[in-house]
Amino acid sequence: MSGRYPRIAMVVGSAVVALVLPRVIYSVLALDILLWALFAMSVDLLVGYVGLLSFGHAAFWGGAAYVAALLARDLRLAFPLAALAGVLAAMALAVPVGYLSIRRRGIYFAMVTLAFAQMLFYLVNELRGVTGGENGVQGVPRLLWGVSVTRPGDFYYAALPLVLLGYLAVYRVTRSPFGHVLAAIRDNEARAQALGYPTPRYKLVAFVLSAGIAGLAGSLYAIGHGFASLDLLHWTTSGTVVLMVVLGGTGTLWGSLVGAAIVLFLRDQLSSVTEASDAVTGAILIAIVLGFRRGLWRSLAALPARAVRRLART
């Protein structure tokens, strides 16, 4: 996307899409897509811009979801405040988890983050008195300072500004000087270190920021659905979001939106045909790894250029 006008057109275009989306598909699915996309962007921020594949981001999505759901239900907090609390909780959790995880890289980083997320899963399951164990936190109200946003369609628009704020935050981080240092670390950590950047600190900050974004998405997801359950912390959740990122293409951000939309839409459509939604997810992942490692977004983005080249040749 070079030049100024295409970018503005893209922002306006996507804002219009976001506004009319609930008219096209039902609003619960529409919000799910936007929130999973935000979740996927938080993972992409790490894998695409720092080169760290987190396989445990369910910890931040689900952890924040529990905090937000509990505060909204028991303290009757307005949902933006509950979501903010979820974000802060996710970031607080990410400090020790990130500090320990970034001591390893590559495949080990994936295993360590996966293990910590599973640890949180067990902990939340054990703390039944607070978290409800297998039942989760149910009956979460959607409050907005005295007003209860009961209709899902209304909640979509109520949550939209926060979601867009999340997108903007990720976008700004990747385009900032800080983001450029992250890219330098991704491309060659030793060189970034030699240039005088304390790379572990940069990685930790990126990890905590990413966890906060995942937390924002998870908090809104729990409040939107009216409950937080152990599913949100499950290892399959961490895997599904990684699938969305890889499907759309790492390091693109927009790809996360494409990936989330495809996976959720497919699952929604197939839920009437087959109950094996995990198997579908698994099959897509295998196909992507074998055939479209650059991600669909990049493969699709490359199509017009290739078509033009072919036309020029004839």
Binding site: L100, Q118, M119, Y122, A279, L285, I286
Partner: protein, 300 residues
Amino acid sequence: MRRGPRRTSMDLGYATLQVFNGLVNGAFYALLSLGLAVIFGMLRVVNFAHGAFYMLGAFAAYLLQLELGIGFWPALVLAPAAVALVGIAVERLLLRRLYGLDPLYGFLLTFGLTLLIQDGMRVRFGLQGQPYATPTELGGSLSLGAIAYPAYRLFVIAFSLAVCVAVWYAIERTRLGMVVRASIERRDLTRAFGISVDRWVTGTFAFGIALAGLAGVLAAPMRNVSPTMGAEPVILTFAVVVIGGMGSIAGAVVAGFAVGVLASLGAIVNPALENILVFALMAVVLLVRPAGLFGSLEAR
């Protein structure tokens, strides 16, 4: 409020019991992390599907019993062999295409495979766990001083240990192991000596998978046979692998048993903590020795 009598002797019995429970858990960690280490060494793939193959091993034993009336002892050989055949297909058709790429792709692929296998088995067999009878020869309990302990679990400890030692010996001390180690360290050179490395890679993967299947058969009489039985053990084993480092065969085995016992001893305070302690141990190791107890920094 009246205090009860000090239960020192009984606590000692409980501690002994927990040591043996820990050894049983360790037996599974060791078999699983041994398989992971062998596969990672040869293929540079962290096999997420290890838990799925463990589950398939248990199901193979269960189905052999149900459909053909074949009991535990033959199943101990037949089930891992059957799972290894699936492993050969997976290596030939899928993993082979990813060699030379970032190991993360192998991890993603085997993750997808896990979802596919696990969900497929769920659709076919349901989530309900199926019971598998303990072999009659090992039905009773043995007296170990203060406590009586199920004979089958003692067998699991001894059998796993024997398999681990045999594998270690085969890889470190025999000609067969020499070829494997040569293929790992200098693939091209080994190929130049006329050794068909590709075939050894397939064989190594199948062998690692067979170890997972074997662990599954051993687990069948202790845990219900269900499609989701493999997911948690494999994630716990990843923590064990991070603790031990994936560099060495002996390291995987020692770390497996050590983590099992330490977590079980910790669980004396609160039984619910057992699995959480495995991850806590991983956190401590990451803090003190990031490369893992037996790993080298080079392997980061």
